[in-house]
Symmetry: C2
């Protein structure tokens, strides 16, 4: 499937409502459970997605579109949210994420990006040369990956409770070792 801006926005626009449908008003045990030390809970994922809105996707798109001599991205801090959101509620994070995402998609639409612009280069600090369309596709996949993560992390809270069903429920044994 080839990249298309409209298809991408169709997914990016759904993530806040999807997370809200799954998580809002859920008991703490579902929201704060993790897969082990230094892994994300559902709460952490929402915080991480907020960090992405503020420091990753749109800021990097701006660097590319500025067409400067050195379109190198700032490194991204995957753990900024841990201190930032220490005293926050999930409700307030869900609301903040929805607002930031809506504003960023409005901005993205307003750019009316052409195919030429979507092919402009950026430089990822560790992955090297990328294009604007690859950045936007990665934004979509990043959302979906973290949605899958939230579902998986919640599922694992019941790992012992399913008894002999474990081999029929592969989500319980996915990512036994955390992956980036």
């Amino acid at each position: 499937m080839r990249f298309r801006l409209a298809l991408s926005i169709a997914v990016l626009g759904r993530t806040p409502a999807t997370l809200r449908a799954l998580l809002q008003d859920q008991p703490t045990t579902w929201v704060r459970g993790t897969e082990g030390p230094d892994t994300f809970s559902a709460f952490d994922v929402v915080g991480h997605l907020i960090d992405g809105e503020e420091t990753d996707w749109i800021p990097r798109a701006r660097i590319i579109l500025a067409r400067g001599p050195n379109p190198r991205f700032e490194p991204y801090d995957r753990f900024r949210h841990w201190t930032r959101n220490r005293d926050r509620t999930l409700e307030s994070l869900l609301a903040e994420f929805a607002e930031l995402r809506a504003a960023n998609l409005q901005l993205l639409r307003s750019w009316n990006l052409t195919d030429t612009e979507l092919s402009l280069p950026g430089e990822h600090p560790s992955l090297g040369a990328v294009t604007l369309s690859q950045l936007l596709a990665a934004w979509v996949v990043h959302d979906l990956g973290h949605l899958a993560q939230v579902a998986r992390v919640m599922a694992k809270q019941y790992r012992t409770e399913v008894g002999p069903w474990v081999p029929y429920l592969p989500v319980l044994t996915d990512h036994e070792t955390p992956r980036s």
Copy 2:
């Protein structure tokens, strides 16, 4: 985390709205894409969840609660939906799933299950002895596993489009070989 009926219903009640938030009115490319031959699209997952409402979780709970001499479950057909839903739209499947799930949860609540009942035995045709609480926990995990699957399958439609980002997006390389 120990099994609790209220915690379980808190998740089971969210799945229809979560899938609707993610999938309703999405372009066909997101809804019908798969991970390869004989794997499920998002459309297939909704059909599979409907099959679960009609033929799996509640029917098996009834077998257990009947306390008969042979509480053995009927085998479950994971591919019933492929012929059943050939001419259906995603919209109609999402609506049907929401109705079936709501009715099943109403029934489940009406049983006012005691700890004694939750410990009653059933016999899975291949896994052997299980309890009612394990069956209900498996129902929750099954929902979350398929939600993770939908997100993963959608993400993989953009696998080539993210260019060098693949190693930073593990959802793209999860389940390279389909698991049960």
